[in-house]
């Protein structure tokens, strides 16, 4: 297990390096000179050149890339062209908003969606199942920004109980969290329903029933534990997708989060902020995926044996080769 985690952590390095290569290439091929948006309108050629030199834009691409990667390794994500602040310190201020919304929404979505899915599967083909499925399907068809607009209309315009825009206190978090929760929750309900249905037909469930196990034990011990695996996989994907897609919701609700920050930076050609912001998100995404994979192995011991067997095979292979050479 420990070896597996180490291996996965090492695998993250080439992926993150690849992300940096893609982002750097994208910012390189962007037309337009960042100096244009930084200097005053009447700036002379000398002033422009001096600025280019201080920003390090005159170096060849690969030198800048290596410098950037070295900086990232030291925890320096560059300096914003606009505010002249370190990107990391700016991202750090905005990250809590995005993370609060994403994590609390996904947490609530699991709490509501999974029980609904289980109920739906246990009552398959009854009106409860049909109604729940239809509601989930309907909620899944609403784009998040549309749902946001509907909620703003209902809660802020019609009933004026919640703020429509911006976050001044905790009430500002309610609507964005509610939107993400409904979207994710309905997809969890559907996933858990179909995976429960799959598990229900397995022999071990029949065995558990046959030996007279209490129905509650059958459902939670034998069925749910096995049905959880696809749900965990989709939680990991959702958190990543939400963090990336957050900028749309953050625009709707005026949340000063990470997504909004990156979107603004893209529009104003503030490359260090785009690079730094997207890199932080990709890093978080990789970490979350790693955690999900580890949880996966904990929940499904079958995978653990396969990992162990994998490493054993590797060891045997190395041994064989050593013998052949020696």
């Amino acid at each position: 297990m420990f070896r597996y985690i180490i291996k996965r952590l090492l695998l993250m390095i080439p992926i993150l390096l690849g992300v940096l290569v893609i982002l750097f290439t994208l910012s390189e091929i962007t037309p337009g000179d960042p100096v244009d948006s930084l200097v005053a309108t009447g700036a002379t050629l000398e002033e422009r050149e001096a600025l280019r030199e201080t920003l390090g834009l005159n170096d060849p691409v690969y030198v800048r890339f290596i410098k950037y990667v070295v900086g990232v390794c030291k925890g320096d994500l560059g300096t914003s062209y606009k505010t002249h602040q370190p990107v990391w310190s700016e991202v750090k201020l905005r990250l809590p908003y995005s993370l609060t919304i994403t994590f609390s929404a996904v947490f609530l979505a699991v709490l509501t969606g999974v029980p609904i899915g289980i109920l739906s599967a246990l009552k398959q083909y009854t009106w409860i199942d049909n109604a729940l499925l239809a509601i989930c399907m309907f909620l899944l068809s609403i784009p998040q920004f549309c749902m946001g607009l509907f909620f703003i209309y209902l809660f802020s315009v019609r009933w004026s109980i919640l703020p429509a825009f911006g976050i001044t206190d905790w009430t500002g978090f309610i609507l964005p969290i509610l939107v993400v929760m409904l979207c994710c929750g309905s997809s969890y309900a559907r996933i858990s329903r179909s995976s429960m249905l799959e598990v229900m037909r397995q022999d071990y469930v029949k065995t558990a029933r046959a030996k007279g196990q209490h129905e509650r034990v059958v459902v939670f011990r034998h069925m749910l534990k096995n049905a959880l695996i696809p749900i965990i996989a989709s939680i990991g994907n959702d958190i990543g997708g939400q963090l990336g897609g957050a900028l749309i919701l953050e625009t709707v609700f005026g949340v000063p989060g990470c997504g909004k920050y990156i979107a603004d930076a893209i529009m104003s050609r503030n490359y260090p902020c785009v690079l730094g912001g997207v890199f932080v998100l990709a890093f978080l995404f990789s970490i979350i995926n790693l955690i999900v994979d580890i949880v996966y192995v904990i929940v499904d011991p079958r995978l653990k044996t396969s990992i162990v067997i994998d490493t054993m095979k590797q060891r045997r292979k190395v041994g064989r080769e050593a013998k052949a050479h020696g």
């Binding site: 068809s141 979107a263 997207v278 998100l281």
Partner: protein, 303 residues
Amino acid sequence: MAKLYTPAMEKLDRQRSKRKEGFKADSPGRQAWKRLIRNRTAIVGMIMIIILFICALFANWIAPYDFITNDYTSLKQSPSSIHFFGTDNLGRDIFSRCIYGARYSIFISLFIVTCNIFVGGLLGTIAGYVGGKVDNAIMRIMDVFQAIPAVMMAICIVAILGNGIPQLVTALTISGMPGAARNFRAAVLNVKSGGYVESSRSINVGHAKMITRHLIPNALGILAIFIVNMVAGGILIISSLSYIGVGISPPTPEWGCILSQNKAYLMTYPYMVLLPAACIMFAIFGFNLFGNGLRDALDPRLK
């Protein structure tokens, strides 16, 4: 040697073969089709999709007004029998704009899905078919692309290329590539183990023919659900991006564009926002229903 095959036996054989014809089983595709048209949700979804296509194809005839002409005599009118969805701040009929919007959303989404199949799908198919080092290389590159959130990636690319439909298609093709590759690869790996692949290899069928004639047609059955979901996802992401002003620029009557133009009136004239939003939901709901029915039809085990 005595004659073994008597006329009586021949007659019996003919009868048997006739009876066999009578019991001929449907092909898997036909069975799935039968299940599909018996599925009520799939039929509802199909009808919704057909309505959307009619709106998209015949927008010129269906829409009562032009989508771009400003009419300053009827500004911000509430929904009525003259203007079904009311008019916006420039006096444009919102119903007509929504009808034309179907054209943009559906056709751009279908185009993106086609591009995704050609780019991501081809990469995934090659990875699954060739296997080994090629598979590893392609999928590791896809891992890198997948580490960047898709929406973020699409916005970055549109920011570089500028606003416009071809640019939007390019951006969404690149950002959708890893997902398509992953799904196609899984489907090809699934199909590859089939007996017919082995038998066609044994009669020396070339690689290109193997992929185009055997693997892709068989994998499409598995991928049909993914493709329908991709169309729904395409409509969703196009409208989301144009809502925040990325991709399609305002005078175009794309649904997301209409929403972003009218969002200032959410407080005072809510119909301007809520009705176009309902159009987006209608489209996505239709494709989702159809996709769900398709899954039940193609994968009866899950139902």
